[in-house]
C-alpha cells in the first residue's frame, strides 16, 4: 500500500514541477505577501540613533556603551542625564532606542548567580526595527557578558527590561507577521488540495486512475501526502524567513509549532478535498477557495479580534480551522505557550480536522467516478 501511495505522490511531484503556474503561485505568493508586510512596516536597522543614560559610570558600563557603539547597528547620539531627557529624546523621534544603565548595574552583575536588569526604551512604531533593535542590544550585551564573566562561571543572562515608547502593542505587529505563517500555508494547501481531484476529473485522467487497482483510500492518501509535503515545506521556509529574516524571536517549542502545523495542514487538505469533490471544474474549485478564504480571514481574528465580535460570529469562528490555528500560532510563537495552555484551540482544530477529512472520505467514496 505504501508503495502505491508513494507512486501517486511521485507522479504528483513530477506534475507539480512542470506546472509553472502553480510553482509560481507557490513561490510568488509567500514572497510578495511577506515582502509587502516588510515594506509596510519598514526595514533596515543600521545606524539606529541611540541615547544612553549611564548612572553606573563604572568600567563595565563604559565597556557596554562602547560595545553598543561598535556593534555597527547604532549611532550613539546623546548621553542623557535624566529619565525625562531620555523620554523626550525618544518621544521627539530624535533617537530610536535608549539604554538606561542603573546605578548599581555592574555590582549586581558581578554578584555571581544574580542577574542584572537593564531598562531599554525602544521606539516601537516600527515593529521590524524594534525587534531588530532588541536583537542588536541583546547580542551586544551578551558579547560583553562573556568577556566580563570568568570563563568557567555560569553565565546569567542580563534581563532586558524593555519599554516600547510609542507602541505598547508591538506584539500585535509581530503577530501580524507570525499569522502570515498560517495564512500563506492555508492558501497554498487549500488551492493544491482543491484542484487535486477536480483537475483530474476535468482532464479525464481520474477515470483512468479509477480502473486501476489503486483504491480510493490510496488515492486520497497519495494526493494528501503530496499536499502535506508542499504545505509543510512552505511552512518551514516561512518559519525560517520570519524567525531569521524578520528576526522575530520564537518563544515557544519548535516541535509543538511544527506538530500543530501538520494538524492544521491536514485540516485544510480535508477542506480542499471536499471542495474538489463537490465542484465540477477547476475554476469552480478556485472560486470556492476564494470565497472560503474571505470568510475564514474575516473570522480568523486578523482584521478584528475574535473576542470583539458579536456572539454569533464568535460561534461561527469556532468552525474555522484558520481561526484556531492563528490563535495557536500567536500563542506558541510569541508568548511561548505550551500545549497545556492551548487545549481550547487544539481540540477544536483536531475535531475540525477529523470532520473535514472524514467528510471528504465519505463523499469521495460515494461519488461515481
Amino acid at each position: 500500500m505504501h508503495k502505491t501511495i508513494l507512486n501517486l505522490a511521485w507522479k504528483e511531484t513530477l506534475q507539480l514541477l512542470r506546472d509553472r503556474l502553480l510553482l509560481a503561485f507557490m513561490v510568488i505568493i509567500p514572497v510578495v505577501q511577506l515582502g509587502l508586510i516588510a515594506e509596510a512596516t519598514g526595514a533596515g536597522i543600521r545606524n539606529i540613533k541611540l541615547a544612553v543614560w549611564d548612572q553606573d559610570k563604572s568600567a563595565f558600563s563604559r565597556d557596554l556603551v562602547t560595545a553598543l557603539k561598535n556593534s555597527g547597528d547604532f549611532n550613539l547620539m546623546y548621553y542623557a542625564q535624566s529619565y525625562d531627557e531620555i523620554r523626550a529624546l525618544v518621544n521627539d523621534g530624535k533617537v530610536g532606542a535608549a539604554v538606561i544603565i542603573p546605578p548599581d548595574f555592574s555590582r549586581e552583575l558581578a554578584r555571581t548567580g544574580a542577574s542584572a536588569t537593564l531598562p531599554v526604551i525602544i521606539d516601537g512604531t516600527n515593529s521590524i526595527v524594534a525587534s531588530s533593535l532588541l536583537g542588536a542590544v541583546e547580542s551586544a550585551i551578551a558579547d560583553l557578558t562573556r568577556q566580563f564573566v570568568p570563563a568557567n562561571a555560569i553565565i546569567t543572562p542580563i534581563d532586558l527590561k524593555i519599554e516600547f515608547a510609542f507602541n505598547a502593542t508591538l506584539n500585535i505587529r509581530w503577530s501580524t507577521i507570525v499569522t502570515q505563517l498560517g495564512f500563506i500555508t492555508y492558501q497554498l494547501v487549500l488551492v493544491v488540495a482543491a484542484v487535486g481531484f477536480v483537475r483530474e476529473r476535468e482532464l479525464g485522467t481520474l477515470e483512468q486512475l479509477a480502473v486501476t487497482p489503486i483504491s480510493r483510500l490510496e488515492l486520497l492518501l497519495g494526493k494528501g501526502l503530496m499536499a502535506l509535503g508542499i504545505g509543510m515545506l512552505n511552512y518551514t521556509l516561512l518559519y525560517l524567513a520570519i524567525r531569521y529574516g524578520f528576526e522575530i524571536p520564537m518563544r515557544g517549542n519548535l516541535a509543538l509549532l511544527m506538530a500543530l502545523g501538520v494538524l492544521f495542514t491536514i485540516a485544510e487538505i480535508g477542506v480542499g478535498t471536499l471542495l474538489s469533490i463537490v465542484t465540477h471544474s477547476q475554476q469552480q474549485a478556485i472560486l470556492m477557495v476564494f470565497m472560503l478564504a474571505m470568510l475564514e480571514v474575516t473570522f480568523s481574528g486578523y482584521l478584528v479580534p475574535t473576542e470583539n465580535m458579536p456572539w454569533f460570529m464568535q460561534t461561527i469562528a469556532n468552525f474555522s480551522p484558520l481561526q484556531h490555528f492563528s490563535a495557536i500560532l500567536r500563542a506558541v510563537y510569541i508568548k511561548g505557550s505550551s500545549l497545556e495552555m492551548l487545549w481550547h484551540h487544539v481540540i477544536p482544530l483536531a475535531a475540525l480536522t477529523g470532520i473535514t477529512v472524514g467528510a471528504g472520505w465519505y463523499l469521495f467514496n460515494r461519488a461515481e467516478w
Binding site: 502505491t4 507512486n7 506534475q15 485522467t205 483512468q208 480502473v211 486501476t212 487497482p213 461515481e368
Partner: protein, 318 residues
C-alpha cells in the same frame, strides 16, 4: 471462480464478459436498454453503434465506473457491481478520450501506470521495454506526452494498458481520428495481443475494422439490434436484398425512391444508391419505372451481397 457473487446462472469459465439485461438511465433517458451479450475468452469482440448509442456507457458499467440501473454484468468471473476491484487488475482499458498525463513523458506515464497495476522493479523495466517496442514508441521515450502525435498517443495508451498483462483489454474507439495507415498498424497490434490469448473488446465506427472482429454486437439507441460473426450477420440477418443502383443524379433518385412504398431502406453510398427490397422480383421493375419516369438515367442496377453497414442500417430501422 464461479463462486464469486454470480447473478448469472449461465456463467461458464470460458466467458470473458456476460451482460444480462444491462440497463442504465440518466434521469428519464435510457442510455442502455436491457442489453444482453457474451464475449468468449480469446476473441476480438466488436461493439458497434452510431454516436450516442450507448457504447461508452456500457463499457463504463463493465469497468464498475457506472452502476447499472438494472440488470447485471459479469467480467472474468466477477460481478461488476460487487467486485469491481477484483476485475481491475485483470483488465486493461483504453478510453475514448485520451487520458494519460500529458504533462508527464512517455516513460513516466508507463512507470506510473505499471506501478498503479502493481508491477514493480525489474519486472516493470522489462515489461515497459517490451510495451515500448511493441507499440512502436522507441525514440520518443523522453518526449512529453502533450507533444506526441495522435497515433503515438493511441499506442502509448495501449502500451500503458497492457503492462500488467491483462486477460481482457477494453478499447473505446481507439482509432477514432487516426489516419488509415496508423489504424491498420494498430489493428495488427490487437491481433498480436489476441494471438497471445488476450480477449479484446473494442468499439468502433469503422466498418473495415468491424470486419476484422471475430464477433460483433450492434447497438442502436441503447438496444442491441444484431449480434454474430461478420459473415453470419451479412448472410443471415438481412431481411431483404440490397439493390445497388448507379444513376445520375443520385440525390434526386433518392428522393424519388423514398416515395415508393414497401422499400425498407434507401441510402446513399458515395454516388451509389442502396435500396433494401423484400421482394426483388416485384420491386426492381417498380424502381426502374419510377426512375425512368423521372428522367433519371440508370447506368447499372443489380442485387449485391449486403455489407455490414447495410445490415446495421436495416436493423436499426426495423
Amino acid at each position: 471462480m464461479t463462486t464469486h457473487h454470480l447473478p448469472l446462472t449461465t456463467y461458464a469459465p470460458d466467458d470473458a464478459v456476460i451482460a444480462e439485461n444491462l440497463t442504465r438511465k440518466f434521469g428519464k433517458f435510457i442510455a442502455v436498454n436491457t442489453i444482453s451479450f457474451r464475449v468468449a475468452r480469446g476473441e476480438i469482440f466488436g461493439f458497434l453503434g452510431p454516436n450516442g448509442s450507448g457504447k461508452t456507457t456500457t463499457i463504463k458499467m463493465l469497468l464498475g465506473l457506472l452502476h447499472p440501473t438494472s440488470g447485471a454484468a459479469n467480467v472474468l468471473g466477477y460481478d461488476v457491481v460487487h467486485h469491481p476491484e477484483k476485475i481491475r487488475s485483470m483488465v486493461g482499458y483504453v478510453s475514448q478520450k485520451f487520458s494519460l498525463y500529458t504533462d508527464l513523458n512517455v516513460i513516466e506515464n508507463l512507470n506510473f501506470y505499471g506501478r498503479a497495476y502493481r508491477v514493480w522493479g525489474k519486472q516493470l523495466d522489462a515489461r515497459r521495454q517490451i510495451a515500448i517496442e511493441l507499440a512502436g514508441l522507441v525514440g520518443v521515450e523522453r518526449e512529453l506526452t502533450a507533444n506526441l502525435a495522435g497515433g503515438f498517443k493511441q499506442r502509448l495508451a495501449l502500451a500503458a494498458a497492457i503492462l500488467h498483462e491483462p486477460q481482457l483489454l477494453i478499447l473505446d474507439e481507439p482509432t477514432a481520428g487516426v489516419d488509415p495507415v496508423s489504424r491498420r498498424d494498430f489493428w495488427k497490434l490487437l491481433y498480436r495481443l489476441a494471438a497471445q490469448g488476450t480477449t479484446i473488446f473494442v468499439t468502433t465506427h469503422y466498418m473495415d475494422e468491424a470486419e476484422q472482429c471475430h464477433r460483433l454486437a450492434f447497438i442502436h439507441e441503447g438496444h442491441i439490434v444484431a449480434t454474430g460473426t461478420p459473415s453470419d450477420i451479412k448472410e443471415k440477418q438481412m431481411r431483404g436484398s440490397v439493390i445497388e443502383i448507379d444513376c445520375d443524379p443520385p440525390g434526386r433518385a433518392l428522393e424519388i425512391l423514398r416515395q415508393i412504398e414497401n422499400l425498407d431502406e434507401t441510402a446513399l453510398y458515395g454516388s451509389l444508391v442502396h435500396v433494401v427490397a423484400r421482394d426483388v422480383a416485384a420491386q426492381q421493375p417498380q424502381i426502374e419505372r419510377a426512375l425512368r419516369d423521372a428522367q433519371i438515367a440508370i447506368k447499372s442496377i443489380a442485387v449485391i451481397p449486403p455489407s455490414l453497414e447495410d445490415v446495421f442500417i436495416a436493423r436499426a430501422k426495423g
